[in-house]
Structures are given as C-alpha cells and as structure tokens.
Symmetry: D2
Subunit: 337 residues, 4 copies
C-alpha cells in the first residue's frame, strides 16, 4: 500500500523531498518527477537509482493516473497554479511555502478546496512538526504556565547574501513565526508594527537588519519577534511564552556540554537545515500517513492564507512605521480550529 507520489520541480528542495520519500520515510514511492528542465528531473531520479516517469510539464504529471498525490516544489510563482490543478484533479497536494504569491492567490486555493468538499492541501510549514514546538504547545495546553499573555521570540541567521532584501525579513524569515505562533496560540493576528533598531554593520548596504516585529492577537496576546539575519553567531530560534503563572521556553537543541578554555559551553547550530531536519521528515511522513487515512490534518490552505495576510500587514508596517491592522476574512467552518 505504497502511496504513489509525483513531484513537480526537481530543484534543491525537490531533490531533498525525493530523497526523503525514497530513503527515510515509510509508505510512499516516487513514481513521477517533472521539471521544466526534464534533464534535471531525470538526473534527480537516476542519482537515487529510482524508477520514475519524467515530465517537463507539471500538469501532465498531475494528470498521470498513477500519481496519487502531488508534491509542489517548483518555482514559487507556479505554486498556486499547480496546487489548483491538483485540487481540480482531486489529488492531495503538499505545496512548499509560499502557497501563493499573494493573499488573494491563497484565497483562490482556499475557495477551490472548499468547492472540492474535502481537504486536499497541506502547506509546507514544518515547525508545528518540530519536537520542541510540540512540547511547548503541549505545555501551554496543559496549563503549565496559565493563559498566555506575551510571546518573546527571535529568529536569527548567521548571515544572508546580497540578494536578501528588507522585505524578505517578513516573507522569507518571519513567515515561519507567522505560521507557528498562530498554531501555538490557536489564535489570529489583529495588528502588526515593525521597529527598526540601529542596523548592524554586518548587513549589506540596502538591508535594514535587525528588525523587531510586534504583533497583537485577537485575544490580546502581544508578540515581539526579533528578526536578525546577520547575527554572526549562529542560527538561533527562540520562543518564550509568558503566561499568567509562569514562562515556558522552546528547548535549546540538545548538545554536548563542554568545559574547555575557561568556558562552560554548548554548541549553537549554524546551518538552518540542521535545526529542523527532523521536522521536515515528520511533516512529510504526516502528509503520507494522513493522505492514506484520508484525513489531512497538517497546515492547511487556510493557514497559508492567514500567514499571507499577516505578512502583508507586516510589509505595510515596514513602510508606514505605524501599527497596521491584519484584516482577515472570517474563518470558514470548513477549517475548524
């Protein structure tokens, strides 16, 4: 009972997912791979000794009757199109973030899925599958710290390259917090504000780095997220939930403790791929298992839409310097909490 998967897009992340399905995860096999560069698709397949059909057109792959489920890992601007096509074909689809290039695009996917009458879409937000965030959510749910009042968060990268622009602090970096914090609190954002501290000299000339994003939720929780993508010292994700009776903090990754050269130290990761490496496995295994059980439960098209709306407000707040509302459509019953 292997789930037969077709992968659209054989770039870096596409190859990773092909490898993952073939050599790490349980219960799925890659039966087709497409890429606008068919040779790229072919080499991805042969490199792993797989047998899979090669397409140069994602729509043809979706139409292949052998393909039972679709992974969309193509160029960002094509995500919406292929996701909509998969929905139209009635095939479950795992779409890497971003779900679409705009909130409106996400909304079109939401609407299409609702018309289809059942959940067919999982967005590639992996943090809810991270052991640490899971433990943090459980601690909140069990009332370990009482009702949450504030979140103090940080998203730090050692450095970014010249192509990284000020708005990408929202769309590429903060987007993960925008998703996972909604999930953590089971709440929605109502406003956003962005503050620019003195910029580090380690950022390139056109980038304002760090930034502090302030979010407010429907229930009044206040969130501050420091986004600092040239922090030099490592890749470091922090999340602290201040509740009415205590504080819970995202676990630091386990590490050998060293006493050495007058320091008592543990290691901080430097490569983001190491930080959530297990979560990537778990999210995709969950997609496979949930498709087989015919009940998708991971990050939904609605979650993709919600993150997109919040990101838009943050982008506006970057420009205006003011508090900007996050104006989201009411949650359809189709997407229960």
């Amino acid at each position: 009972m292997m789930l037969k998967i077709g992968v659209i897009g054989a770039g870096a992340i596409g190859k990773e997912h092909i490898r993952r399905c073939s050599t790490v995860l349980q219960g799925a096999s890659i039966v087709a791979v497409s890429d606008i560069n068919a040779e790229g698709a072919r080499s991805a397949v042969t490199a792993l000794g797989l047998e899979a059909k090669i397409y140069d057109d994602g729509h043809a792959l979706i139409a292949d009757p052998e393909v039972q489920a679709v992974l969309v890992t193509s160029w960002d601007p094509t995500h919406e199109e292929f996701t909509l096509a998969a929905i139209a074909a009635g095939k479950p689809v795992f779409c890497e973030k971003p779900l679409a290039m705009s909130a409106e695009g996400c909304r079109r996917i939401v609407d299409a899925e609702m018309r289809a009458g059942r959940r067919l879409v999982q967005v590639g937000f992996m943090r809810p599958y991270d052991d640490g965030y899971q433990a943090l959510k459980q601690a909140i749910a069990q009332g370990e710290v009482g009702t949450p009042l504030m979140l103090h968060c940080a998203h730090r990268n050692a450095s970014v390259n010249e192509s990284y622009s000020t708005d990408m602090a929202i769309t590429n970096t903060l987007i993960h917090e925008l998703d996972v914090l909604r999930w953590l609190l089971n709440d929605d954002y109502v406003s956003a504000q962005v503050i620019f501290p003195r910029s580090t000299r380690n950022a390139h000339a056109n980038l304002r780095d760090p930034q502090i994003v302030l979010l407010e939720t429907r229930s009044g929780v206040r969130i501050d997220v420091e986004v600092f993508v040239n922090c030099q010292y490592g890749y470091d994700i922090q999340c602290e939930v201040v509740g009415e009776s205590g504080i819970a903090r995202l676990p630091e990754p386990a590490s050998v403790q060293m006493r050495k050269q007058a320091r008592l130290a543990t290691e901080i990761l430097t490569d983001w791929k190491d930080r959530f490496i297990r979560a990537y496995d778990v999210e995709l295994q969950a997609f496979i298992d949930d498709v087989k059980a015919d009940e998708l439960r991971g990050p939904s098209a609605w979650d993709g839409y919600a993150a997109s709306v919040a990101a838009d407000a943050c982008l506006k707040a970057q420009q205006s310097g003011s508090v900007e509302p996050v104006e989201m459509a009411p949650r359809p019953d189709f997407y229960p909490r």
Copy 2:
C-alpha cells in the same frame, strides 16, 4: 578616619542603612538620626546599641557640625528639600530614589550642585553596583558582543498589593531599568512607547499588568522591557544585550542545582530584597569611600534627572498609546560620561 554620617528618616530603609553602616560597612559611623517622629529615630539607634544624636528636624541634623555626610531616607516628597539643604551646607548627600517628585525638582538639584561647583549628590540607584550588571557592562565594554543594537529586558515581581497602580509600573518598577540601562549603554533615551497586553487575572481590577515598554536611544538601540508585577513565579530580572556579533545576558543568581521529582531545577528568588542585597552594601560603601576620597562617582543628580525625564515620557505614553519623545536638556560638562 571614620566618616560621620547623619541619617534623615528612620523608616524601614533608613533603619536598613543605619544597620548597614554600623555592622556591615567599613569606615563610617552614624552620629545623628532624625525623624519627624523623634521616638522612631531613637529606637532605631538604641536597637543597635549605637550612640547618636536624635533630631526631629532634618535641617537641624544637616546643620550639626559633627555630621560630615547625609543619608536622605525620609518620605519621598521631602527628598528634594533635604538634598538641596545638604548641598547648601556643602555636605555630601546620598539620597534614596526618587531624587525629587518631578523632573523639574531633579533639575533644581542639578543646578544647585553645579553652583556648588563639585559633586555632592549620589542617588540611590543600586543596580550599577550589582556584580551581574557590572559583568555585563564589562562584557560590552570589552567588545565581547560588538556594538549593542537591542536590549530585551524583563522586570517581574511575584505579586503586588492593592495600592500598586498602573503608573507605578513606571515610577516604582521600570525606574530601575531606566537608570541602569542608560548606564549600561552609556546612552540616552529619545522616545518611549507603552503596549498593554491582555492583563493577567492575578492583578487587581484597576491595574493593567503586564506592560511592555519600548525605548529608543540616541544611538538607535531599541529596548523592550516587560514589566510584569504579578507574574506569580518569582522576582526575576532579565537583561539581554544583542550586539552586532553576539548576545550577552545578565547572570542568573547562583543557586544549588537539584535533580528531583522529574525536574532539573535551580531556584528563582521570590523576594526582591534578596536579589540586590549585595548591591545595596556596595553602593553605600562606594559612597563612603568616594566621599573620603572627595570624588563622588556613583549615580549623579544628572542621572536622577535623566531617569525622571524618561519616566515622564513613559507615563505620557501609557496614556496616549503613542510614541512619545524623551526631551532632555543637553548634558552639562559638569557631568561627564
């Protein structure tokens, strides 16, 4: 060569300082104590087996030729008057915070001291004398984390009583951060904003708790301070300095590490008096030593003024919900950095 000290005000903190000078510190003796209730002054003196003159008038104490230096620990509204009187008498004076009831009052003391032509005033801000803050400042000064860009701080009390009002989060609680963070960064504030998260149900009805205060400094450092005075779990002071190349964090107080009942734990203090108990000793010893060396170096009247101006802006920001400027007079050369 004992420094002969007169103490104005024999309440709780006055008694503490009398005890401190008599049984802990080096090189000073209490020769006079005044209180509007002379009996209170007398019992404070006899309880410790001291010999000291008793006054019911602080001005008479200041005038006593035997008194070489003055501690002002009287009712807050009298601080300005006695400090000005000590300056007029040319006697060094250690004045508990607040230096005066308004920024204007602080300014009058600044002006009087400048007219006197030498530093005579130390304000009772003790945090710069705390080992932890000292170590943090040293780490910054040595460039351990590069140029500071952001500070993330928290000031949490387990609980407060009914008399604690929303403005006291600024004037009684945040005031310590307003002083110590200026000293830590060697910088001045230019704006303040206050955010009110959802309030804890553990605060009494009229108190908005917690609050988040956002400060901006002249050099562009952005500071967030969570003030949460009914956090339930303990008295907890946090300060994290995010610099261009790393992050330095105020030490947690040393504590026995326990493995017990499925928890690996250290203790968090619950009484604020324990947290800075050594700093109180050190600040007063520094006053004694500096007076003898004829060179006051601790928190100055100018520092008292600066904290007061910043507090006023925060109070205004509590009301307005907006970003409020911190408008301070230019620093006179009399008070070098």
Copy 3:
C-alpha cells in the same frame, strides 16, 4: 528491494520491533513471526494488519527460504541457540541482548561467525546509535577534550520492582555502559571493582542499591559508574569524559525550560523507553541498511562477548569486594576496531 525479516519471539520487545519495521523504518517487511505460543505470534501480526507466516518454532522460521534476515527477541536463554542457527543458515541475525547467558556462550557465537567467514550478527546494544553518544564520541575523536583520562557516569532508574536483584545491577543495567563505554573509548577493560554505599531505604530488603562500579581500561582510563535503580527522581543517564584539556558531557535530553513556582526547570524523563526511543529505530534501520549493503557494522558478536566478560568480572567483584581482572581473549583480526 524490501529486506524480508523473520522475528523469533513475539513478546513485548518482539512486538515493538515488528511495529518498528512495519510502520517506522524503511526498506524491510516482516514475512514471518514465530513464538512458542503461536497464538501470540498470530495476534502480534494481525494487530498490525500484516501478512506474515506464523511459526511455533524458531528453527522452522530460520529455515524458511523467504526469510532473509532474523530478529531474535525470544526468551533470553534461547538467544544463543537461535543466533547459532541463523549463522549456520548463513542468514544475518539481529539478536537482542544478552547475546548468550555466559561469556562462553558468546564465545561460541564468535567462533561460529568467524567460521562462517563474514559478519552475520548484530547485538541489540542501542546506545551507540543514540544522537547524544554519537556527538560525544565525535567530540572525543576530534580531540575537543584531548586524550580521555577518566569517565564519570551514572545510570539511574526511578525504581525497580521486587524481582530486581543485586546482580541485575550488572547484568541488566550496567551492561549498557559496559558496551557503550568500550565503544566510546575504543578500548577494553582490564579490571573491575564494586563499592556498596549505604543503601537507600527505597530499595526492597534484598537489594543493595546504589552501587558504584570502578573500571580500568587497557590504556589506563578510569571509569566510575554509579548504578542507582531506585533514585526516585527519574531515569537519568550521565556520562562525562574528562580529557587532558577539557571535559565533554553527554547532552541532557532537550526539554521545555520552565520558570514556575520559584523554579527554573527542565524536565527529567521518568520512563527509560523515552530516553533511547530514537536509538532503537536507528539501530534497527542500520541493521536493515547494512544487511542490504552486505556489511554489518553495528555492535558485533565480539562486542557481546566483551561486555559479557566484563560483566562476569563485575559480578565477581560484587562478591569479593576486591579489584577483579577482566580477562578477555585477544581480539581476532576478524573483528577490527
């Protein structure tokens, strides 16, 4: 290319491995299960909806031509017999610890495997597959702490039941350290000593608990292992490597950090199954992958023999109170370091 596995013994651990191979791991399928109680085998299989042949005799299962590799999870005293039979049949075999009931039994397996001319046996020591021990070994290998001189270790269980006897502190508990520490240091033991501290009142009457085992290795490293199986507070595995230039310590399991009720705390596990849950997956996946690559690299029959010889010396030392030699045959070239 699924590896077809037969499982001998459908008790608790047998069921676990069947579940693991069927729903977690990659590239294997369970094709046969045997148990002296055939009904037990059958229910294990049907509970997971598997299709597998049922045997009431392990030898018949081994002889089944469809079975490509064997898992021995039967009653301890039968391990040697089935492992020898698998070797005789030329089929790779993963045998749960203990490999045999005596060092002599282990030696018989070693000899049989050497006669077979290739590695066919992996013993179920999972700690070398734990992320933490892997990181610790890597730190040593990279010279992070210089040449190891001492190891300070602890193996603590919250409590054990009445059937746990003083010798089981060696054969059931310490046996894991006896394996993993040899692997960590790439060294062999030469002597053992056991010290009995004052016993806890939380142990039953006939159990001496805790115990301290002192080991010496060929290169002169000294190891102390505290075995304390009624420590009350949790399941806690500690390992500290003191080298010539620093100290490396096994990571604490990642855990949410809580500030609550005057404590700054992380959780300590209480169930041993949670501590090495991932390592169980990884060791069996490694067996599957290594069998397919025709190159077993995990804990060998020789490792099983070495642990057994060391355990015997510890048992003797429990009785004698003296330092007892660990007398092991020379390592055959067949088993390279």
Copy 4:
C-alpha cells in the same frame, strides 16, 4: 569596640589578611605585625598607611598586652608553636591551614585548648563560609534530597608548577574537601583509597595527575573526589550530593551567559583566588564577630585534627594502593557537632 589584632607572618597571605581587616571587614584593627624579617612586616603596614607595632618574633607579639586576638599566617612549620602560645596566653587565634604539620601536632593543640577550658582556635578552612556550600548544606538539612548516600566531587586547577608533588594533591588540594565534606555531611571518614588514572601529559614528569580519592564515612556515605591539578581549562570545584530522593549540586559561580561564535557559554574561573574570594572575607569577619561574642563557632582545632588524620590515611593509600582505615580518636564532648 574594635578588636585589636596581631598578625604573625607578613607573607602573601598575611598581607591579604591585614588588608582585609583594614579595608573590608568591620570591627577590627591591626595593632601589631610580626615577621622574622621585620622589614617585611614594616612594609606591609606602611603600604596600607596603618599604625601598628612591628615585631620580629611572634612570641613577643602574642605577649603584647594590646593584642587581643592573633592571626597565624607564618611559615607552615611554625603554626603549631604560635597557636599553642596563643592558647597559653588565653588569646583567641585564627590559624591558617595547616594547623600543624602532623595529626599529632593537631592533637597537641586540641589538648591544649581543652585544658584552657574554652574554644580559642579557629582554623583557616574557608569553604564552609562559601555561599554555595552553605546553600548546599541547607538543602541537605532541609531534606531536599533525602539522606545522602554518595558524593561526587572534583577539585581541578588549570595547572601547577614544578614544585607540586604527588602527595600535595592530598595535603594542599584535597585537604579542602576533607574539611568541607565532613562539615557538609556532619560525619567522619572511616577509610580512604586512591586510584591513579592514566596521567596527563600536561603534568611534569614526577607528578601523578589526576588522582581519584575514594572515601567512606561512618554512616556509609561513599565519596569520590577527582583531584586534577593540570586540567588546563580552569579552576573548577564540583560537589554533587546524591541522596535517597534527589541530587543537589554546588552552584556554578554566576556568570554572564554569552551567545557567540556558535557557542552558548558561561565563563569558568581560572584563578582560585576568585572562586572563594568572598568566603575569605566571611570567615575572618566571623572570627572577629565570634571573638567579640566570646563564642568561636568556625572550623575548630578538632576539625583541623580530623582533616589531618584523613589526609594521613590518603597519603598512605597513595603508597599502598589499598583501602586504608582513617583512625581517629573519639570526639571529645568539648567539640560538639
């Protein structure tokens, strides 16, 4: 009411105590200093601007009627003689460790003090005055971890010079543990064993380093102390108390936590003088206060004797490789627990 103190021996530690009494502590003044090199005594006094009589003979200083209490900080072999002389003169005496060069010498002081009929001697063991050990003892006393069963300790120095010999690991280094662990447990040693791991190449040729000392107490507590005086990485004192229901560990010294260069680190001290700097102040202040209250309560001559007897057994165990008994005279009622 200043206590008038005479100091015998103006070497490094003598000068430190003179400075301490004059500029840090409360309620004492140095009125006389002796040294066999009177010029050394004189320069120690004038360097601090003190007025004190200078002697070249400790006995003359003891005889000076102005001297109310004596500090013995002279050459180790003279400690016994001067301490006995102070007892004979009925003057309280604080004697730096070692109290005498042998257990017999300590015993002579014990006998002399008992004949004098009141406690006159405090030995310079400062660890019981350390905040960390105080907190650890309190945790034990409050039953936080249940009855102690084992202690795991370490005493590590970054390095020692050529003059440090293998026996000094006991007499200069372990001696602090021998005192403080008796005090911590309120118990006595009954046996000692010494194990020599592989020696570090960072020790000079004639020094065996590290060493592991195993101690057994009357109540059956087992103690292991790693003594490692060329550990390279810092000065590090560890003490872990394993009790029936939990484990308590000596606090790490408070330190700024840094995130920097892929490490999350706190500092480890490198100079032993920094580690117990406060404890030196506190022990001597306690002596001053206790002398004034006419009730010495610090480490007694009996404690000095007990540490000396235990050290002798450890030295014997270094030679014999065997478990050696610690044979102490019964505790006289004169020295209550």
